[in-house]
Structures are given as C-alpha cells and as structure tokens.
C-alpha cells in the first residue's frame, strides 16, 4: 500500500464523520423519544429480546445512513418504524419454517405490584399465545394501532400499505384476536368461533 493509498483511506474515514445527515444532538433527542417503544415493538414482533437488541441497533444504523430524513418528527418516527418492520420481515424470512418461540413473558425480573402478578402474567401469556396465531401483518397492525396509538395514516406509512386499506385490515385482525382471546378464556368449555 502506497502513501497515496493511506491518505485516501484516511480521507474516506474522516468523511464518515459527516456521513450521517443527522447531527448527534438531534439523534440523541430522537433516540430518547423512540428507542424504548421501538424495542418493545421489535421484541413483540420477533419474540426474542436478544434479536430485538440487534434489530434496534441495525434499525438506527440504517436510519442514520439514509441520505435524507423527513423533516417533522412524526414522519421521521414512521420512517424508522418502516425500516424496523422491514428488518423484522427479513429476519422472519430467514427463519421461515422454524417454529416461532413465544416470548418468555415471565423471564423478566422487573417488579410487578403484589397481588396482580398472577393475573398480569396470565393475561400476557394469553395475549402472547393469541398473537402467535396471527399473521405477521396482523400483529404489526394491532400493535401499532393499539399499543403505539398510531393513526391509520401512520400505520400505512410504517408498514408500507395503502392508507385506505388499514381500516378493513385492522377490523379483521382485531376480530380475529378477540376471538382467539375469548377461545383462550373458554378453553376446555364449548368450542367454536367467529373467525
């Protein structure tokens, strides 16, 4: 390697300081607002905390490397969720055929208030089981709509769907999940359902 090569490498390395369009202060503020909900989204969509950690890092890296970002915060957030959704989809494709493991809801050691522990663990396990029976898109839709409180337009932007189709897709997903949850509650008694 010649001296010119070394200089060229150093110049390229130095350029990466300006590679990110977003400056560090803006990024920190944006990250603090979005990282925890995004991690929860990734965790609920992929069902694995370690993979959610990796996907979170990858999502922010791709977000930073993108040439330009939407100006306002809401669109920026939707753009980040779109990247995250695509990453989860890619990850799902890679493990297609492998049975998705349910999240270990009781694995966390965070304190939960006294007498509610059993009820909360049971409710979360039921939800996890029911969600596992939904399609990936149904899970994405329900989570963004009801956990994140996103509007139909925001969901469409995050998932790359047409805004006009969200209402019907959400209606179907909600109906299916309600049926799965009711079936879970009445398991062992009469069968049947509406799905």
């Amino acid at each position: 390697m010649t001296l010119g090569d070394v200089e060229r490498l150093e110049r390229a390395t130095g350029d990466s300081e300006q590679t990110f369009v977003m400056d560090e202060t803006t990024f920190r503020a944006f990250y603090d607002r979005t990282a925890r909900p995004l991690w929860v989204y990734l965790y609920r969509m992929c069902g694995d905390a370690q993979r959610a950690d990796d996907l979170l890092q990858e999502a922010y890296y791709r977000f930073l490397r993108a040439g330009s970002h939407p100006a306002d915060d809401a669109h920026r957030r939707n753009y980040l969720y779109r990247i995250a959704t695509n990453l989860v989809r890619d990850a799902r494709r890679r493990v297609r055929g492998v049975e998705v493991e349910l999240p270990a809801d009781d694995a966390h050691d965070a304190p939960v208030s006294g007498g509610d522990v059993a009820r909360q663990v049971s409710a979360r396990t039921d939800l996890g089981r029911a969600m596992a029976h939904l399609t990936a898109r149904e899970r994405d839709l329900l989570w963004l709509a009801y956990a994140e409180g996103s509007s139909h337009g925001e969901i469409a932007e995050s998932l790359g769907l047409k805004a006009g189709s969200i209402r019907m897709l959400l209606f179907r997903a909600r109906r299916r999940l309600a049926w799965l949850l009711q079936r879970g509650e009445s398991r062992g008694t009469a069968g049947g359902g509406r799905a």
Partner: protein, 169 residues
C-alpha cells in the same frame, strides 16, 4: 355488508387509554360495549395489548443514545474504509495478474537458455514445448481462441485474489 366501524370506538379507546375502563366509566358506555360487537372486540383486544405494552416498556432495557451513536460511527468508518480500499484491491489484482503473465512469458522465452545453463550444472531439465509452436497453433485456430486464452490467464489470478479477500471479510 357488516359495519367495520362504530361512532363510539373513540370513546372506548379514550376510556381505556385514560385507565377509566372498565371500573370507572359510566354505565351507558358499558351498556353500549355489551351491545356492540365492534366495541366489545375493541375492548377485548386493546386492554391486554396496552397492559402488555406498558409492562414491557417498563421492563425494556435499551442501550444509551451515545452508545448507539458511537457504534454507528465505528461501523460507518469501517464500511467507508472497506469501500475506499475496494478499487485499490482491484488494481492490485490486475497488476498481479499482469505480472504473473509477464513472468510466465519471460520464463517460457528464456527456458532454452536456462535449460542449457542447468544442463551445464549437471541438472537435466525437461524440454518445454516450443512457444513459437504454441503461437502458430493459436494463430491457426483463430483469434477467438487466443483472446479466450489471454482472458483466462488474466482473470484466473484476479478471481483468486477477489475470492480470497471476500473470504477474509
């Protein structure tokens, strides 16, 4: 066609989001939810999703913004370095291929003299085919054969170097 929305959906959502549902909201809303399939599905679904979201959010442990920024910077630098060194590697590969070809040509042309010298040292070196014969053969078979042979001779070392460098990464 069955309805897919109810005008009271937002009331139910607001009651759930504010924590009033199911114990601290008015009886009228309760009565509506019991009578409306859409709103009962909504309550059935939204309550556990929101509970799960809030609990998981509370438990979530994410890296700091500074750590994420720093990792992204390091990765960007490595990728920039890799991108910058790619043309250098290509030029090196071509140069090596040319050198190999040149060396092979010089050795072939100098082989009769080298063989004489080796024979004088008491070493019986093998006889190589006459290069003029090879050239005549190539000329006889036509130009495409000659170009093909030259391309293979040039591409093989380049492919080898690129394959080895990819494996290293």
């Amino acid at each position: 066609m069955r309805p897919t929305e109810c005008p009271r959906e937002q009331d139910v959502m607001d009651a759930i989001a504010s924590g009033r549902w199911p114990h601290r909201c008015d009886a009228e809303l309760h009565a509506h939810v019991e009578a409306c399939d859409l709103c009962s599905d909504l309550a059935e679904v939204v309550v556990p999703i929101r509970d799960d979201f809030e609990q998981t959010l509370y438990e979530a442990r994410v890296p700091t913004a500074g750590a994420t920024w720093w990792r992204a910077q390091v990765r960007a630098r490595l990728e920039a370095r890799e991108a910058a060194s790619r043309p250098i590697r290509a030029v090196t590969a071509v140069a090596l291929a040319c050198s190999t070809g040149l060396l092979a040509a010089v050795l072939t042309l100098a082989w009769p003299w080298m063989r004489t010298w080796l024979w004088a040292q008491g070493i019986d070196a093998p006889v190589l085919p006459d290069p003029s014969g090879v050239i005549a053969l190539l000329a006889g078979r036509g130009l495409p054969l000659a170009i093909g042979a030259a391309l293979i001779a040039l591409a093989a070392p380049v492919a080898l170097i690129l394959a080895l460098s990819e494996r290293r990464h």
